[in-house]
């Protein structure tokens, strides 16, 4: 079963929790990252403020396959303060994206 990482980035607040969770879980060096938060904005777009954060998993992200195989949740998903990260089977992702409102939701297969 292939898995992907769904991100409800419309509500990501850029808290850096996923980055630090991953560093600690994987024992990465300080200049490495398994996931990194990108910031876009704030900038006025069509008269309203646009300000998004999008966490982007790197090639070092294996969606914590081993950990999940033990029935545990990936640390980025568990610790995420806004609860916007979900690791799901790919065939469930489209349905979940619509369920979340179908706006500012994305997914990654790192």
């Amino acid at each position: 079963m292939e898995y992907g990482m769904l991100i409800n980035y419309g509500l990501c607040t850029g808290c850096d929790t996923c980055e630090v969770s991953c560093l600690k879980e994987k024992g990465l060096n300080a200049d490495e990252w398994g996931i990194k938060v990108q910031q876009i904005g704030p900038k006025k777009l069509g008269g309203a403020w646009e300000w998004d954060y999008v966490p982007v998993p790197s090639r070092l992200c294996d969606l914590c396959a081993e950990r999940r195989a033990q029935g545990k949740v990936a640390p980025c998903e568990m610790h995420c303060l806004a609860k916007v990260i979900e690791i799901l089977p790919v065939d469930k992702i489209a349905e979940r994206m619509v369920e979340l409102g179908g706006k500012k939701v994305t997914c990654f297969m790192p």
């Binding site: 808290c15 704030p42 006025k44 403020w49 949740v73």
Partner: protein, 764 residues
């Protein structure tokens, strides 16, 4: 009992997983985030969230995830240390044993008592840390001084105290909090709970600060459930960018905006008439007070777009239930009282107090509140009368000590500087004991003046997890603190003033070198005034006794669960559950919520809100407008740092946010030739400081925003540098004693300034 046998520990592959609740040192306010500390052979190897914690549900911010880097930092204090008074500012500390340290402290207190009297001892405490719970006690109950309880090196006590005090008087309650179903295990599914339709977030950025016990990201939980946001903030915060309404006000004009909102709601008849008739006092006087605050006048004074103001007022008042939360910005202006009056009136006249999805309130104190008050009331009348107050009679409301005891911060600096040395009531202060505070970095307005004034003291002692600029510059004795992973404790959100749970802080690793604040206070209390500390040999005994007195259950019951939830009863005012006499109504002088406050009147403050222009603005000082063309706000912070904690070089937290940032609008920066990452000197009429430019439209072209509490542990520790504490220090900008007649509120977040590009943190 070994660790493995404790009910809060599970074992997996030789790793002990210890459940606990967090509270600084280090890391956070009393949010009590549920953690699972992974421990192997008495070593913390990993931190995870506790998914069973009903409040945080496994969520943890970066600071606690990197807890190991603090626990095992080579820079941590691991032994009591002493230094000769003549060597202050020099890194010539000598390690001593705990017994030696306690003996020195005991001898010093006795010496001061005998030579000068106990009144010449004062305490300085901080805000936010675990020690906040015990801080009111150690001045009177250990040192026998009236100059103890909750004294800060802080102009206008400009954090929490103003809000807590005004709520005490106007609502007769603890601190109001939004209803995020925080009191129950089943949380948002609790029968009878309603999701607020609108949430006003006023002068607060809770997502990144989780203040006082409020788990900031619960706002996101509520947004997912349909809550809409109204922000009142000079800055565009992330929440502001995602809000229905953003009232972008001029710094320090909160009362004008508040009166404008009230006027719209009153004029358009949108308030809850039944609630106002039955439960509020002085509505007619409030109506009169806000009459002149038309949307146009609010715009003229406070910059707020009239459409946003009117829209926000209507949305808030006509969508019941809605709620509101207020932040430190309301404390950090001279007009803090008026802003707070407006905030409370707004929530009250809309009928949102103590209803599902509205604003929750509880009695002012719970848990160890009574113990705290009892322990402050242990001075003989002659000693109590020596309490330092302004000899000209200023700050009567503060000095009456409703929510906060202690010495008013501005009065204290004046006293230390000898302003009243020729007055009959004057006596010199000789000793200070600092707990949970790093005032030179964090709080002290005009920090160099505090630094100089405190040099005259005979003896200064502090306790902390790291050496700080304050300790290096001023102290003669330092006691090393344990982190929350290394001791027993309890977390009580909002310091007990609106407490949704009690959480056990469980010792996961043993550090024989350090002690907790409470352990130190108990040890010293039993040495100095043993009659007051009987039966309290250990924190566990203390907590167990206090829990049983207050709730009928003991420590074991708290330790057995992720969080002992408090439960909540709505509409307590109808049921006689707020007033001490059991009658319906509120615990105020009139028995109602006071929109008109007879108490404020009695203390020389106006009973209804009014507008006062900040002391340093382009309107109050038009002659300074050319030289200081911009406004500033301070207090900026990043999620990776808690006040002045987490600055240690090389740590993950410092790497996330390596330098103090001054936020500047790109158009303003262009005018001064400033680019992203340039060093920028900010100068107010009171002083200067330097931070690194960050260009963003989070601020408009009229003001800049600077960060607070910076020092640089990697720099020269010795005086005069003191880890660079005076270089990027936002408080250099702040005027001393620009406070209201109540003694509360100081302009940490509103002043005028100029900026220029400079070559570095150190520059000509």
């Amino acid at each position: 009992m070994t660790l493995a046998d404790q009910p809060y520990v599970t074992e997996e592959d030789g790793v002990m997983k210890v459940r606990t609740c967090a509270w600084s040192p280090p890391g956070d306010h009393p949010v009590g985030c549920g953690l699972i500390l992974h421990v192997k052979d008495n070593k913390l190897i990993k931190v995870e969230g506790d998914p069973e914690n009903p409040v945080t549900n496994g969520r943890v911010c970066p600071r606690c995830l990197a807890l190991d880097e603090i626990v095992y930092s080579e820079e941590r204090l691991q032994s009591p240390m002493v230094r000769d008074r003549s060597e202050r500012g020099k890194n010539t500390w000598k390690k001593i044993s705990w017994d030696e340290a306690y003996d020195i402290l005991e001898d010093k207190i006795h010496e001061i008592w005998d030579k000068y009297g106990a009144e010449s001892i004062f305490t300085l405490t901080g805000t936010g840390r675990e020690s906040t719970l015990y801080a009111p006690v150690y001045g009177p109950a250990i040192c026998n001084t009236p100059n103890g309880a909750s004294t800060y090196a802080f102009s206008g006590e400009a954090c929490y105290g103003p809000r807590a005090t005004i709520t005490n008087y106007l609502l007769g309650a603890g601190v109001p909090e939004i209803d995020w179903a925080q009191y129950w295990e089943d949380r948002y599914d609790h029968p009878g709970y309603e999701v607020p339709k609108y949430i006003i977030v006023w002068g607060k950025d809770p997502l990144y600060s989780s203040p006082d016990g409020f788990f900031g990201h619960s706002i996101i939980d509520l947004m997912k459930r349909g809550s809409k946001i109204i922000t009142i903030d000079p800055r565009l915060t992330w929440l502001g960018a995602h809000a229905e309404y953003h009232l972008q006000l001029r710094p320090g004009t909160d009362a004008a905006v508040g009166m404008g909102l009230l006027r719209v709601i009153i004029k358009e008849g949108l308030y809850d008439k039944e609630f106002v008739d039955k439960w509020c006092y002085g509505f007619e006087e409030l109506v009169e007070a806000v009459e002149e605050w038309t949307p146009e006048k609010v715009q003229e004074v406070a910059w707020v777009d009239p459409e946003q103001l009117v829209g926000a007022a209507r949305a808030f008042a006509t969508n019941a239930p809605s709620t509101a939360t207020w932040g430190v910005a309301l404390d950090q202006s001279k007009a803090s009282t008026q802003a707070a009056q407006c905030f409370l009136a707004l929530c009250s006249i809309c009928g949102y107090i103590d209803v599902p999805g509205g604003v929750t309130i509880t009695k002012p104190t719970s848990f160890i509140g009574k113990w705290r008050y009892d322990m402050m009331d242990v001075l003989d009348p002659e000693m109590a009368a020596k309490h330092i107050v302004d000899p000209d009679g200023k700050y009567a409301l503060f000095n009456a000590g409703a929510a906060m005891g202690g010495v008013q911060g501005d009065t204290l600096l004046n006293w230390l500087e000898g302003k009243w040395a020729d007055r009959p009531e004057y006596y010199p202060l000789k000793m200070c004991w600092i707990i949970g505070n790093n005032p030179l970095a964090c709080m002290a307005d005009q920090p160099q003046r505090w630094y100089k004034a405190m040099q005259d003291l005979d003896f200064i002692v502090a306790q902390d997890i790291f050496m700080t600029p304050t300790i290096m510059g001023l102290c003669d004795l330092v006691l090393p603190l344990s982190t929350f992973a290394e001791h027993e404790g309890l977390v009580t959100p909002n310091y007990g003033r609106n407490q949704h749970f009690i959480g056990a802080m469980n010792e996961a690793i043993v550090n024989p070198n350090t002690k907790s604040d409470l352990e130190i206070l108990i040890d010293m209390g039993r040495r100095m005034r043993p009659e007051l500390w009987e039966g309290m040999e250990t924190p566990d005994k203390f907590f167990d006794a206090k829990l049983k007195e207050n709730y009928g259950y003991g420590l074991d019951e708290v330790k057995a669960v992720p969080a002992k939830m408090s439960g909540y009863e709505y509409r307590k005012y109808e049921k006689g559950l707020i007033r001490d006499d059991g009658q319906p109504g509120f615990q105020t002088t009139t028995g109602r919520i006071e929109l008109y406050s007879p108490i404020l009147d009695a203390f020389g403050e106006k009973p209804v809100p009014y507008y006062e222009e900040p002391e340093f603005s382009h309107l109050s000082h038009p002659e300074l407008a050319d030289e200081f063309p911009l406004y500033y706000t301070t207090g900026g912070r990043h999620i990776s740092m808690f006040h002045s904690e987490h600055r240690q070089a090389g740590t993950t937290m410092r790497r996330l946010h390596p330098w103090p940032l001054v936020t500047i609008n790109p158009a303003v920066a262009a005018r001064y030739g400033i680019e992203e990452g340039d060093w920028v000197e900010v100068t107010s009429p009171q002083g200067s400081m330097t931070q690194k430019a960050h260009l963003t439209e989070e601020v408009n072209e009229k003001f800049i925003h600077v960060e607070h509490a910076w020092w640089f542990p990697e720099q020269d520790p010795e005086a005069p540098n003191l880890y660079g504490v005076f270089k990027a220090n936002a408080n250099n900008l702040i005027p001393h004693e620009s406070v209201s007649v109540t003694g509360y509120g100081a302009p940490y977040k509103n002043g005028i300034c100029k900026i220029r590009k400079v070559s570095g943190l150190d520059h000509e």
